[in-house]
Amino acid sequence: MTLELNDMQGLLIRGFGNLLGAQYILLRFSDVALGKQYVNELLPSITPATDKPSDNAVQIAFTYAGFSFLQLPSEGLASFSREFREGMTESHRQFILGDRGENAPENWAWGNPAQEEIHLMLIIYSKDSETLAEKLLFEKTRADKFGVVELHSLPTGLLRDHKEHFGFRDDISRPIIEELVDNPVRQEGVTFPAGEFIMGYKNLYDEFAPAPHLPVILDPENILPKAPDFADKKDFGKNGTYLVFRQMEQDVFGFWDYLKSQGKDKEEAIRLASKMVGRWPDGSPLTLTPDKPDPAMSTSNAFGFWKEDKAGLKCPIGAHIRRTNPRDHLVTERTQKDSLEMAAKHRMIRKGRPYGVPVTEPLQPTEIMDLPRDNEKRGLHFLCLVTDIRRQFEFVQNNWVNFHKFGGLEHDADPIIGNHYKSDTVISDEFSIPEYPIRRKLKDMPNFTVIKGGSYFFFPGLRALHYLATHE
């Protein structure tokens, strides 16, 4: 099935890596008619997937509250997934996501509806900081004109060598959408049908991903395409998807201080940190090069765990990369095939960017460990695109990242992004490293990342945007 790129926003298929500046602007409508006019005027500025701009790109996403405010028909609103309708901070969603303690929405800077209601997000990409400043000013003026209130403007900054703030190369493993490749061959866990990430196409279950829809009668202008699963409905979701946004603040000094306290020297601290991540700081995977980093493998992604490292002696079972993408080995599965099939059903396309000033550049752990703590806020604006929030994002977060019994472990949440705590019934602040003759356990880990904001958005196709801006 050919992808309708001209109806998609560009972020679905590219990260705008050539546009170095980026800002996430969280907004709220104040008037329905003005809000729709705003979307209508903005529409021509939205960068479609067919364009690869060299100066600016603008993308837009809405929360459920935003769609409600713009009075999207109730049938349409009801057809969004429950997770999206409830929002990230609903009590059960909080439970699923492990947003408790330090990570509880009460402590967030944004995204807690008890404090404020976000309606939409503009994502602005620009080639450099000057162009970005100009574009932001332009969009601010446009928003003001239509009574659209800016709530937060979240800056980003790409770090050198594709690193994140702890000093590790990031974003190496990316799912490939089959429809974007010439002569695609299905490779379990590597290539994916578009329906895993874009609505209106078949997913790994050979089904159309559940998408929001409207009765035909509510689309008299015939703007929207037909819904694939319902003859009497129009597809509001086609060429759109859900966008999950989490602001994860990273405690870089806390991370390396903890590791220094666990290792006898810097070299050991780096080795332990790499065990936590599953890759060396340069990105080379422990599974392929367990004893020392190999720069030639810094982007290597063609490896599994089933044959190479079932016991986790190279890359621990609880390491970050084994939890977020277990590839071909889940401890609870009896065959490599079942593991592959299971893991493939829970992938996401990540599109986030770091924010804040790096502690040093380049981000070499040996240097970071020598630096005194500063007061800068830094971290990752985690964005992911999925057609099923529960099956993809929430499943990974709940079952693999935060479940302290993952893979037969006992008290271990994800060492990097997991919520580490002790309660009456749960201890999740340990990290097990299988070694001979006895595993090593790192204990009393603080949280190295803390959630500071978040929300579920819907990232519509262009026809859906047109409908939203013009519907009666």
């Binding site: 050979d206 559940p210 299971m342 099956r391 893979g407 037969g408 019934t425 003759p437 595993r439």
Partner: protein, 441 residues
């Protein structure tokens, strides 16, 4: 004593209007169990899980009303009679208080033997699965304790120069010497009970079946060369079995052509009620009860499938599940499924739909339940299989008013790991085996 894990299901019909009162009573008992976990553990040493709930009326195939019921389902280890005695002794008063609401409960029940007799009489057949075979409840905490203590000991020893260079055999000796010195671990010296008899017992029905079929096949071949008529008649058993199976499949295939009536989507309110109850940090429970699709063949086929599951139970595997059972009620018109599993049901349900193999196995049972996805030739799935399956589970999921779990802290992998560690103590192993065994600590 046998260490085979088994299930007990006791059920009676009850008037629908009584359910509210019974539910209130069960929830009161549930709170009592939560507040008195230690007392329950002490007095029901063979019991792993109890799910106790009421089931409202359901409609089977256009207008046939299936009655409201009370269901008491336990997962236990060992002898069934001993388990029933244990239940009656400790929970007798509560069992009586709940089952008294049913007209099936004899008013003459006045003592323990009467109650035991009632429980036995109301027990129904089920296919039962355990994910951690042959581990008795009383071993759970002490196997965990000894493993933790050994870990602490080795963690200390790690600091001694040369310790990490010791051979696997020497490390194992160190561990065993340490254990010998701990008075409280004297029980380890007794070793573990051989699983041979229990394994044999579990495999016996399958063995008998295969033996019978094998003999029949041999007799059939021999009857070509030898005269005795008995050979011919015995030889007919195997082909007759295949023919019967073929006829049943054809009959089922005809039934599969009936128009498929999908379940209405489960409402948000209902889902919220269910998930609100599964907030235990390690284990949770799920009960799904659905009428079957219309047609006698569905009832027959499901009945046979459940017996087949029992036959091959020793080899079956469902990840993250502690125990599960499937059974039929009301003349086979209702399917009951309960599972005790790690983490939450949204994650657990994926274990079924995300693997092609398990999705096929699941269809053998669930394709007979009303509203669950239509199939062809039993296992060939149709479009929207996953979505309809997930929805079917939610629509037919019931709220379990009383749930007791002996173990609330250990995942099924933890249980197996701890047992594996303990089993190998004081046993001869080669170096590679010891290296692998050390990973369990």
């Amino acid at each position: 004593m046998s260490t085979i894990h088994r299930g007990l299901t006791v059920t009676v019909v009850v008037e629908e209007q009584m359910l509210e009162e019974i539910n209130a009573l069960l929830m009161k008992f549930n709170q009592h169990a939560k507040n008195n976990q230690a007392q329950y553990k002490e007095n029901m040493p063979s019991t792993y899980f109890i799910s106790w709930l009421t089931l409202p009326k359901q409609v089977y195939a256009k207008g046939v009303i299936l009655p409201a019921r009370i269901l008491l389902m336990t997962s236990f280890v060992g002898n069934k009679n001993r388990h029933i005695l244990e239940l009656a002794n400790f929970l007798g008063q509560r069992i009586q208080a709940v089952f008294e609401y049913s007209e099936e409960f004899p008013p003459t029940v006045s003592n323990l033997p009467d109650l035991i007799s009632f429980i036995r009489k109301k027990t129904v057949f089920q296919a039962f699965y355990s994910g951690f075979k042959f581990i008795p409840p009383q071993e759970v905490s002490r196997e965990k304790e000894i493993k933790d203590r050994v870990f602490e000991y080795l963690d200390q020893k790690r600091k001694y120069p040369g310790f990490t260079n010791l051979s696997p055999a020497k490390i194992k000796t160190e561990i065993e010497d340490f254990i010998k010195k701990q008075v409280e671990f004297g029980w380890v010296g007794q070793g573990t009970k051989s699983k041979k008899i229990d394994t044999f017992s579990m495999l016996l029905p399958l063995g008998v079946f295969l033996f019978l079929m094998g003999c029949s096949l041999i007799c059939l071949i021999l009857s070509i060369f030898l005269a005795p008529a008995a050979l011919f008649w015995i030889g007919l058993i195997f082909p007759a079995f295949l023919v019967a199976l073929g006829v049943l499949f054809l009959w089922l295939r005809i039934n599969e052509n009936n128009s498929h009536i999908a379940n209405e989507p489960a409402s948000d309110g209902w889902i919220r009620q269910i998930i609100e109850r599964e907030k235990n940090s390690v284990l949770n429970e799920m009960t799904v009860i659905s009428p079957l699709k219309k047609g006698l063949i569905r009832r027959i086929f499901l009945g046979l499938s459940l017996r087949l599951i029992t036959l091959v139970g020793y080899f079956s595997y469902i990840p993250t599940v502690h125990t599960a059972r499937w059974l039929q009620l009301d003349g086979g018109k209702r399917l009951v499924f309960i599972a005790n599993f790690d983490n939450i049901s949204e994650a657990y349900a994926h274990d079924f739909v995300d693997s092609d193999n398990r999705s096929r196995n699941m269809a053998v049972v669930f394709s007979h339940a009303a509203g669950f996805p239509a199939t062809k030739w039993l296992v060939k799935r149709g479009y929207n299989h996953r979505s309809q399956y997930m929805n079917g589970v939610r629509v037919h999921q019931k709220i379990t008013q009383f749930w007791y779990a002996f173990n609330t802290d250990l995942s099924v992998e933890n249980l197996k790991n701890n047992h594996k560690f303990r089993e190998a103590l004081f046993k001869k192993m080669d170096e590679d085996e010891i290296r692998e065994w050390l990973l369990t600590i």
